[in-house]
């Protein structure tokens, strides 16, 4: 009984920081419709500023003053981010904004490393709240009790601000229809900036207030962000009370999970989220997202056409060049190119889903890693021959996509993205924690190809044939009735439905195809490396794919492939630099703002301007 109570109290205390961060994210999303991936970074900054300030300001007043001051500073940093990075992209499609916030994550990562160094910072304890009290015989830190006492006041203050003040009324009105609020004379820009300040300040407060419990380290940004997303999605995007309820739920669940189901703590949170979304697709206290709000903005898309003669000849020439590489290139070049082709296929499968199908998946790594793991598990546990195991990779990934897709396609927009993320985390945590089967962190090793395929050059040719074949298949599918139906559903699901297309079925099929081909890439990957580890299933892997698709150009067919080739090519060089994240982050932000068409789109626009390439709509 005592232990139970103690765990409940710990859970409730943990909810404080989570709620602060989640309410900030929710608030920002509600008004600006931007899913701020960098929100965890703001939380991290709050913690670091808190540590520094607490060292300078002594005593109880210094501690709490530092917490508030950290919130204020982070709020101002949020304002800088809003004005410099987000203002230019408010009118751009959702994905652009997401990618811009990825860029911010990388920049803040390296700036924090530069300023505070790589060592973890120990959080100072709160003066006057350093000891423990005994409740039912269990020791409970006083600070936990203080957090439990403070949280309701924060909720109350936010509730008052949102429901009773003019600012709150404007914020709620803008959440529903920001254009109309503007037409009534409210300066949206400042409203957005204000909301961003408040949301960021809340994240900063969260980071500083948890210092006595957790300290500050460089991993806390990505560690909290998935929990925060789960909370916001369970509570309902844009709902502050929802964020509160869900924070408490998730925090308590985590504490009990660690105690009673240590094997599945990581999965638990995502299982709860999936269940909630199935019962209430827009979260516990969320509202239905209106259709059309997140649709394409700006110029109509250029119609996608099969490659012309010039395009085909160029590709053929490239293929010949690639086929000749082993004759001239070194072993290293072949290994690098094998990696690049695999990554290209993976990115192309996401591109198919994302730009042809309009399905923005945040968890595409699940199918890449899923396929790789499926093959590796067969080899490890059943001694299956490589050929069969390799064929099983796309099959298993496709099956996984069919199962997950059935749940995901019932949602749309941000909720769809979040559910795909949740499922990928589910797969990741299974690989990470189910030690007996998957080897956990140690991964699965000794997964080598058969005799006739071994050797760098042979495997390079194998990858070239399978990888290019997969990419051509995806391209071809775009020009089949399936591709047409996917594009119709992407552009207007209602009109597509009205013309007799079963949009959900088509999207489900597209999801499965993209999953299977990601699995094919995973199969190629595992036999090229001879091993597989859980990090191939991480969020970062899914984000990598999103970023390259974006860099290459979302609205083009070859964007994913070009972006992946570019990225894998420069990564080798880039990661040798000490602050490569900073450079990459700034590059991503610059691309979002300056060249939103990506590499392929920009090249094509440039070629059009010079008269080399005639666009459908050129004037």
């Amino acid at each position: 009984m005592g232990l139970f109570a103690a765990q409940l109290i710990t859970g409730l205390a943990n909810a404080a920081a989570l709620f602060l961060v989640a309410s900030g994210l929710s608030l920002i999303f509600g008004v600006t419709r931007i899913v701020n991936f960098a929100h965890g970074s703001l939380y991290m900054l709050g913690a670091y500023f808190g540590v520094t300030l607490m060292q300078m300001l002594p005593g109880g007043f210094g501690f709490w003053g530092s917490v508030l001051l950290s919130g204020l500073i982070v709020g101002l940093i949020g304002v800088v981010i809003e004005i410099c990075v987000l203002r230019p992209v408010y009118r751009a499609p959702e994905l652009f904004q997401l990618v811009a916030t990825f860029g911010v994550i990388l920049v803040i990562q390296d700036l924090t490393l530069m300023i505070w160094g790589a060592d973890d910072q120990i959080g100072p304890r709160a003066p006057g709240l350093k000891s423990v009290v005994r409740i039912l015989g269990e020791p409970i830190p006083q600070y936990d009790l203080a957090l439990i006492a403070i949280t309701p006041f924060i909720l109350l203050a936010l509730w008052w601000l949102i429901t009773k003040t003019r600012i709150g009324i404007l914020v709620r009105a803008a959440t529903q229809d920001r254009t109309m609020v503007g037409a009534l004379g409210v300066n949206q820009s400042w409203l957005f900036t204000g909301v961003f300040f408040l949301g960021s300040a809340l994240a900063g407060l969260g980071g500083a207030i948890q210092l006595p419990k957790g300290g500050a380290d460089l991993l806390m940004d990505l560690n909290i962000i998935s929990a925060v997303f789960v909370v916001v999605v369970i509570g309902g995007m844009g709902s502050i009370p929802g964020a509160f309820v869900a924070s408490v739920l998730i925090s308590v669940l985590n504490v009990f999970g660690v105690a009673y189901l240590p094997q599945s703590t990581l999965v638990l949170m995502y299982v709860v989220m999936a269940v909630v979304l199935l019962i209430r697709p827009y979260g516990l206290l969320g509202r239905e997202e209106k259709g059309g709000e997140h649709g394409q903005v700006g110029e109509p898309d250029r119609p996608i056409r099969p490659a012309g003669l010039v395009g085909r000849s160029l590709v053929a020439a490239l293929m010949v060049a690639l086929a000749l590489i082993p004759v001239f290139g070194s072993n290293f070049t072949q290994v690098l190119l094998t990696d690049i082709i695999i990554f290209c296929l993976f990115a192309a499968s996401l591109q198919f889903m994302l730009s042809t199908g309009g399905l923005v998946s945040f968890g595409h790594a699940a199918y890449f890693g899923g396929g790789a793991y499926a093959a590796a598990l067969l080899v490890t546990h059943a001694g299956t021959p490589m050929e069969l195991a390799f064929l099983f990779a796309p099959f298993a990934a496709g099956l996984l996509a069919i199962i997950f897709g059935w749940f995901c396609i019932r949602l749309s927009g941000v909720y769809f993205a979040m559910l795909t993320l949740a499922f990928s985390q589910l797969v990741w945590s299974a690989a990470f924690q189910w030690y007996d089967v998957t080897g956990g962190d140690d991964g699965l090793v000794n997964i080598w190809p058969s005799e006739w395929l071994s050797g760098t050059t042979t495997y390079y040719y194998f990858t070239l044939i399978v990888g290019v074949g997969g990419i051509i298949l995806l391209r071809h599918l775009t020009h089949t009735p399936l591709g047409y139906a996917l594009r119709a559903g992407r552009d207007s699901d209602r009109q597509a439905e009205a013309t007799g297309i079963n949009v959900k079925l088509v999207q489900w099929t597209g999801f499965a195809v993209a999953g299977a081909l990601a699995g094919l890439a995973g199969g190629l990957f595992v036999f090229s490396k001879g091993s597989i580890f859980p990090n191939e299933l991480e969020i970062a892997k899914s984000f990598d794919a999103l970023i390259v698709v974006f860099l290459g150009g979302v609205k083009t067919l070859s964007g994913g492939v070009v972006g992946a080739a570019f990225m894998d090519g420069v990564r080798d060089w880039l990661t040798r630099l000490e602050y490569w994240r900073l450079i990459l982050g700034l590059l991503i932000i610059a691309v979002v703002i300056i060249a939103p068409n990506g590499i392929v789109g920009s090249l094509r626009k440039g070629a059009e301007r010079l008269g080399f390439y005639r666009g459908e709509f050129s004037e």
């Binding site: 009324i169 404007l170 009105a173 529903q176 109309m180 503007g182 004379g185 109509p300």
Partner: protein, 233 residues
């Protein structure tokens, strides 16, 4: 007060307004007439700068406001009542009015919540209800009241009679005439010629974004061929 000259507006590649020019004098009520798709709403939005015209000028009280952001236009004293109403359904009626509130202006009628509730008694009864379960007429009243909270000098009413019960339309006509008496300048877009004839001093007819007629209703009466060609009566 308002002068639109040589306005060209596009939606993507579609050319909606074609060299449209007209003026509205202070205290005038002008009806913008034309069929569905003639460009009435785009004209309204181009004045409000919700659609930025590609060329041409929108001069309000001597200042070219083309290219301004919508909130600046609203702050200068142009109030816009959209056709699709766009009330904030999650907010109460009182909160909806609060969103529209702006400081009083010297040269425009000043409105208070109480004065608006007197004009629209239906709203007063439900002041703390959310905008969800309102009839079309009540929604229209709320949108107009919300815009008047900004104390505009010029009111743009986009198809106020659309989708409203005939009894309410009559009431709406009286309300607009009252606005005129208070000194408000109004541009109203309409398909209902009868309704427009009651409230407006002058008619402007557009077709495919081109002005086809600009004159009094009695002149329009005398030229039935214009009416038959450009209005669906």
């Amino acid at each position: 007060m308002l002068e639109v000259s040589g306005l060209n507006s596009f939606y993507g590649k579609a050319h909606i307004l074609n060299d449209l020019s007209f003026t509205v004098g202070r205290g005038e009520v002008v009806a913008l007439l034309g069929r569905n798709g003639a460009g009435k709403t785009t004209t309204m939005k181009s004045i409000m700068q919700l659609v930025h015209p590609k060329s041409g000028a929108v001069t309000f009280e001597g200042k070219d406001i083309a290219g301004y952001s919508a909130h600046r236009v609203a702050r200068m004293g142009i109030g816009y009542v959209p056709e699709e109403r766009r009330i904030f359904t999650d907010l109460t009626i009182l909160e909806n009015l609060e969103v529209g509130r702006q400081k009083p202006r010297e040269d425009a009628p000043v409105w208070t919540v109480d004065a608006l509730f007197e004009i629209f008694p239906n709203l007063s009864e439900r002041r703390n209800n959310r905008g969800k379960a309102m009839s079309g007429g009540e929604q229209q009243m709320l949108t107009i009241a919300r815009t008047l909270m900004g104390n505009p000098k010029l009111l743009l009413l986009d198809e106020p009679s659309e989708g409203i019960a005939p009894v309410i339309v009559e009431q709406m006509a009286k309300t607009i005439l009252r606005f005129k008496r208070e000194g408000l300048t109004v541009v109203i877009s309409e398909q209902n010629l009868h309704f427009a004839g009651i409230v407006a001093d002058r008619a402007i007819i557009i077709e495919s974004g081109v002005k086809k007629f600009d004159g009094s209703f009695s002149e329009l009466e005398k030229s039935p061929e214009i009416r038959d060609a450009y209005l669906s009566v």
